[in-house]
Assembly symmetry: C2
Homo-oligomer: 196 residues x 2
Amino acid sequence: MARLDRAAVLNGAWAYIEIHGVDALTMRKLAASLGVNHGTLYWHVENKHALIDALADDLLAGVADDPHSNAVGMERLAELAHRLRAALLSHRDGARILAGTFVRESHTLAFGEAAIGAARSAAVPERDAVLLAFSVQYYVTGFAIEEQAAQQLEYAPKRTDIDETRFPLVKAGLDTLRNTAHDKQFDYGLRRLLRT
Amino acid sequence: MARLDRAAVLNGAWAYIEIHGVDALTMRKLAASLGVNHGTLYWHVENKHALIDALADDLLAGVADDPHSNAVGMERLAELAHRLRAALLSHRDGARILAGTFVRESHTLAFGEAAIGAARSAAVPERDAVLLAFSVQYYVTGFAIEEQAAQQLEYAPKRTDIDETRFPLVKAGLDTLRNTAHDKQFDYGLRRLLRT
DNA sequence: ACCTGAACACCGTTCAAGT
DNA sequence: ACCTGAACACCGTTCAAGT
């Protein structure tokens, strides 16, 4: 049994979340899954909240880190948005984990830095670059949260049907969405946001 | 002591959240704040999860319900976006409460119905109306989550300063944002989204 | 430096029993 | 119909003590 370290705890947490979801994540259950007494975790991580914060920042590791991209301006911003979405979706409950905590760790900041940089090189008035970069981030986060929430519902088929007479547009709209790839939906709003 | 009912439990929950935040909300603490044994709550509400779901839908009560509005198309959609944001901000942790649960209750659906209706009357190709309405919703949710997270930080001044040499754009950007009213920031992205 | 064991002060949920 | 009291199976966190 290799000795535990902080990275192993984070990986164990991700593994647990993949199977049971964040809501079921417990220091005691996590410790058990790592074959360790639960008190031990507190040697590697300050407390549960700090663990979740670390997971949130972990999610963004490498998102802004693609030196071989040669996209610029709006193209680069779109690329970053896609990479951000992919990162949030790469782990179960990822979007909720990031949204729930106000992270200011290095990976999160590195993403912000790249996004603002891209926005500044775009055609918008330069003083709006920050606003644009953040708007993109809001959109991506909101989108990914809904996307993962919907995913969850598919597994737990509590199909509460929508009243067609009271909400005909929603009813028909959801059918439309079901037949539209998530990528297309994502791109639709993203393009509107980035259009010059 | 008036008898308890479901509405009183919801109101009590909001009152508790206003003071202590959702994370501190506990069935036992809530019961205590209502002057009642904690087992009692389960007579009025199925369980804690259902209570949170109810709070989420409660948040959207009346958002789509403004019969005297005479805005149409994009104007109407912008109006709904503003009303949604206001609703999310009207209670502490509101945005996180809504985002955390996949609600399909009546108020939530009523908002969707109004938003899609507005989008359909706008100049966009009608088959994109659903995409547009949802994009707006994603943006508003993402925005409000960050907005409330930032608010929280102001109260708890754990000002972890940002490394200016590594993240100069973020550092300068946050200063810009601090001097820009939240409403302006919100409108910036919203306009980009709704621009025809 | 890392881990165990045990303790402390909490949780959500259920359910007989009261009124 | 609504509420109490008590129980059950859990939590997160701390900390002496071990190695």
